[in-house]
């Protein structure tokens, strides 16, 4: 397997999963962009480039899965706090269910293969 194939595959997998991770993080508490980035980094380095979180947040907001509130900060510009919308919550439930199925089927396809 070539390195470029592996890199490309990894990027695709990460891209698909970061949205799920963001929604899961926001299902627990309301956070602003920087905190979401920190949480993602702490959860095992699923994020390679911090800046790309903002486009994802923007897309999730456009899809109506998350909502944002601008809160003034005395330490710089106003911070945009994100939380899960009711629609996001039900979508997240389905996504987690789907991910469970996918992870199970990947595990099954591997069988006893530990490579």
């Amino acid at each position: 397997m070539s390195a470029s194939f592996l890199n490309n595959w990894e990027t695709q997998v990460r891209k698909g999963l970061v949205e799920l991770c963001i929604l899961n993080i926001l299902s627990r508490q309301e956070l602003y962009g920087y905190d979401i980035v920190r949480a993602l980094i702490e959860s095992g380095g699923i994020v390679t480039s911090e800046g790309t979180i903002y486009p994802l947040l923007s897309r999730l907001r456009r899809e109506g899965l998350i909502e944002a509130t601008l809160i003034e900060s005395d330490r710089g510009p106003a911070r945009k706090y994100y939380r899960l919308s009711p629609r996001g919550r039900s979508t997240l439930k389905q996504m987690n269910h789907l991910w469970g199925d996918i992870a199970a089927s990947v595990g099954e396809s591997r069988g006893g293969n530990s490579e």
Binding site: G33, Y34, S49, E50, L56, S73, G76, P77, A78, K80
Partner: protein, 267 residues
């Protein structure tokens, strides 16, 4: 409002504002409000980073933060904007580039209007370069030859202009008779001693001009950064180093020329 609470040095501030400018440029296809929202998010990210680090930001800190945030191109791709190199060249960019090349040719063929056309060509090329999202390489100025020529001419004029009034006057024999009426008659205009003295005077003036330039440049840092932006690829220009080089070169040139002048003894 935004930057007031962040402490960073001048180079770091320049690096950060350049990055945001590049982000704006890369995200141009998006609605303006959305671009401003993104930039505000990045400003907020920076503030949070400062809060975490709790110290004054250096240029290295900003460079590290930018590396973590990702390149403007990378971010544009994340917003679903096609990579600049894959975009068709905008008709306006191409037209401006051709117009500037045409002006360069005409300016070479007709010397009388050359300087004016060269300036117009350089302005057109610089506008095209700023609007273009096609070439993001550090050597993108090579795609705009008229701009390179105009800046080279400008650099030569800025550095060597003191020679321009001195040498023509000297060629007519008027320089030394103006400076030292009694000695000029004793020195033949076409003698080696005469021209050594002329060159010495010109070099002393040039050296002093370089010394003065270093002072002027250090007080006009931002202007110089903006002027040379097409060639620095928006990185911070090492103005302090440039001033140091000019100062030393000016001092050495003026001192050497003064020594030659004294050895020549035109009096």
């Amino acid at each position: 409002m935004t930057r007031a609470t962040i402490t960073m040095n001048r180079q770091a501030e320049l690096r950060w504002s350049t990055y945001l400018e590049e982000i704006r440029l890369a995200l141009q296809p998006l609605p303006q409000q959305e671009i401003e929202d993104i930039v505000e998010e990045l400003e907020s990210h920076l503030c949070s980073d400062v809060d975490t680090q709790g110290s004054r930001l250096s240029e290295q800190d900003i460079a590290a933060l930018i590396a973590r945030l990702g390149s403007p191109r990378h971010m544009a791709e994340a917003y679903g904007i096609q990579a600049p190199s894959e975009q068709p060249i905008a008709a306006l960019d191409l037209a401006l580039l051709f117009a500037s090349l045409l002006l360069l040719l005409v300016s070479l063929l007709i010397p009388g209007v050359g300087p004016l056309l060269l300036i117009a060509g350089a302005v057109l090329a610089r506008t095209a370069m700023q609007k273009s999202t096609v070439m993001s390489s550090p050597y993108r100025y090579l795609g705009y030859p008229v701009l390179v020529v105009a800046y080279m001419v400008l650099a030569v004029i800025c550095l060597l202009w003191p020679l321009m009034p001195v040498l023509p006057v000297a060629a007519t024999g008027g320089l030394l008779s103006t400076l030292y009426p009694e000695s000029a008659t004793s020195m033949a205009k076409d003698s080696g001693q005469y021209w050594n003295t002329v060159w010495s005077v010109a070099a002393i003036v040039t050296g002093l001009w370089w010394l003065l330039s270093s002072v002027l440049i250090s007080s006009r840092d931002k202007f110089l950064q903006r002027l040379l932006q097409p060639f620095t690829n928006r990185d911070a220009l090492p103005v302090a180093t440039l001033c140091l080089v000019l100062r030393w070169a000016g001092a050495v040139l003026a001192a050497t020329a003064l020594a030659v002048f004294i050895i020549n003894k035109p009096f």
